[in-house]
């Protein structure tokens, strides 16, 4: 029994990265990697909160609101800015026990490039995730993610600026994700990650006001899982580069659905808020699934969907 347990190889390799397991902490839900004390090491990798060129205060509160099986956030990319990130946050991650992926967002194409250049030789950064899909900011954000040409331009700028693997994070707020995925892949992205949050809104009916200070926000959590899986399925069919699947993953079964659809790895975000130990149960459950299916490596799950 113990022998069989040991036999499952959870590691996955893609885009020049090697992760000890396929469960990654999603950007914005794991801070700068140290807030959940000691938890980083349980993940195959962690993606840090989106950093921008200048520090950002973020949007007016309330910034959160619950929905059925989900939540809305309108954080607005509150972050310390690239310089403080490099100076204070990144060093604190040394020895965190896992692969660190830095997530960036710019106001324009040039800023994306500049951020990538600044990270290129930063110690401890294994890859860059490019956020072109934040629903909560006016500039940059989801507008880039909805336009194949703009998405490609950002990708090219980032690729030119760094030798690190570049993962581009796509928005689900499009009628078809395939053209965006193809444009980004053609522009040289090493991998895609999707989805970011869906546009959403709630109203406080007694006060007759939006529940969020910023009026609208991004929907995450189990509620969006089927939508995320749909887009991941489509993206995997559209491009040859690796895809990281996320959106509403709360259980190992959810993670396996994304991998079967073609994801090389998964990210979990909201699930960590609900249960910081989710990463462990998801990783353990993926191993259990491999055992049931007679697979020896988690990587064999990827693309196993028959349809």
């Amino acid at each position: 029994m113990a022998a069989r347990r040991d036999a499952i190889d959870l590691s996955v390799s893609f885009a020049g990265l090697r992760l000890k397991n396929p469960v990654i902490a999603a950007s914005g839900t794991f801070g700068y990697g140290t807030e959940y004390r000691g938890l980083a090491a349980a993940f195959g990798a962690i993606v840090t909160k989106t950093v921008t060129a200048a520090p950002r205060a973020g949007n007016a509160p309330p910034r959160l609101c619950e929905t059925r099986s989900g939540m809305l956030n309108s954080i607005g990319l509150a972050n310390v800015g690239i310089e403080a990130f490099l100076r204070d946050k990144l060093p604190a991650l040394a020895g965190c026990g896992t692969v660190v992926i830095a997530n960036i967002a710019g106001n324009d194409v040039a800023e994306y490039g500049a951020l990538a250049r600044r990270l290129d030789d930063a110690p401890g950064v294994a890859a860059i995730e490019v956020n072109i899909s934040c629903p909560n900011v006016k500039q940059g954000g989801a507008a880039f993610g909805a336009d194949p040409a703009a998405a490609a331009a950002v990708t090219r700028a980032v690729k030119r600026a760094t030798a690190l693997p570049v993962i581009v994070k796509l928005s689900p707020n499009v009628s078809d994700i395939a053209p965006v995925a193809r444009a980004v892949a053609a522009a040289g992205a090493d991998a895609l990650s999707l989805i970011n949050t869906l546009f959403g809104m709630r109203i406080d009916i007694e006060r007759r006001r939006p529940s969020l200070g910023n009026v609208t926000g991004g929907l995450s959590g189990p509620a969006i899982m089927p939508v995320a899986l749909y887009h991941v399925h489509r993206a995997c069919r559209a491009v040859g580069i690796p895809v990281i699947g996320l959106g509403g993953i709360a259980t190992a079964a959810d993670a396996v659905e994304f991998m079967l659809a073609g994801a090389a790895a998964v990210q979990i975000g909201t699930a960590t808020f609900v249960d910081p130990a989710a990463v462990r149960s998801v990783a353990r459950g993926i191993a259990g699934y491999c055992r049931r299916q007679g697979l020896s490596r988690a990587a064999e799950i990827t693309g196993g969907l028959r349809c």
Binding site: T29, Y36, P62, M71
Partner: protein, 249 residues
């Protein structure tokens, strides 16, 4: 962590005791627990509750039933396992050299009970100013010297607890104020304290997701930018808060 007992002590307010040696040992007044309440009608997020009291290896929270989560909480019976993260957040910093004035509004008594207990244990003599809308809303609390006020005068002095505070501050030179309650009460408390040069700590609320400073969701406007209620607070020096922000949790 398991429920030891759970009882409604008012029609809409319950108190639940848990047993956890580790939590009871680490807990400090003003900190909170982040609770996962199962089956709360597809509400997925944890709920934050101030630590209300600690006795031995037992730890209590005092909750007002306002929605699905607290309703589910009120249904937990003895023995039920509860998934808790904590203790979290910045506690009250007791200033031993200053006579403590503890100001509570309604359910705001929740974290202050524990604070009063620890102050008393340290030989301090806190005075509690406790304000409620009406007699029936008053909640049990430690027997310390106190002045109760009700907005309608049905118990104790009539009027707002902040009016009582204005009087007390004058009588207790060098006092320090510790407060929890609704925003308008805290704002007035902060104003009074600033005016009289009295140090003042407040416990604030905001909707939370992570509870550990990772998501930036529980932002509260400070005088120098946003602060997180979970990580920079929930207890703040009143001077660091922007009291003009419109607040809605």
């Amino acid at each position: 962590m398991a429920v030891v007992s759970n009882r409604m002590i008012r029609p809409d307010v319950g108190r639940v005791w848990f047993r956890s040696r580790a939590l009871a040992r680490q807990a400090r007044p003003g900190q909170f627990l982040h609770l996962r309440v199962p089956d709360a009608n597809a509400a997925i997020l944890r709920r934050p509750f101030s630590i209300h009291d600690v006795v031995g290896d037992r730890i209590a929270i005092l909750y007002r039933v306002v929605g699905d989560g607290t309703r589910a909480l009120s249904a937990l019976s003895a023995g039920a396992p509860v998934d808790v993260i904590g203790p979290l957040g910045i506690p009250f910093r007791v200033m031993p050299s200053r006579p403590p004035l503890v100001v509570a509004g309604g359910i705001g008594i929740a974290p202050l009970q524990f604070l009063l207990r620890r102050m008393t244990a340290r030989g301090l003599h806190p005075r509690l100013l406790y304000g409620c809308l009406t007699r029936s809303a008053l909640l049990p609390h430690l027997a310390v010297t106190r002045a109760v006020t009700t907005d309608d005068g049905s118990c104790g002095g009539r009027g707002l607890v902040t009016a009582a505070l204005a009087r007390e501050i004058g009588r207790r030179p060098g006092a320090a104020v510790y407060a929890c309650g609704p925003w308008p009460m805290l704002r007035e408390t902060a104003r009074l304290c600033r005016e009289r040069g009295v140090p003042c700590q407040v416990s604030l609320e905001a909707r939370m997701a992570c509870g550990v400073g990772a998501c930036q969701g529980c932002a509260v406007k400070g005088t120098a930018g946003y602060l997180t209620a979970c990580h920079d607070g929930p207890v703040f020096d009143a001077r660091t808060i922007d009291w003009d922000q419109g607040v809605a949790v």
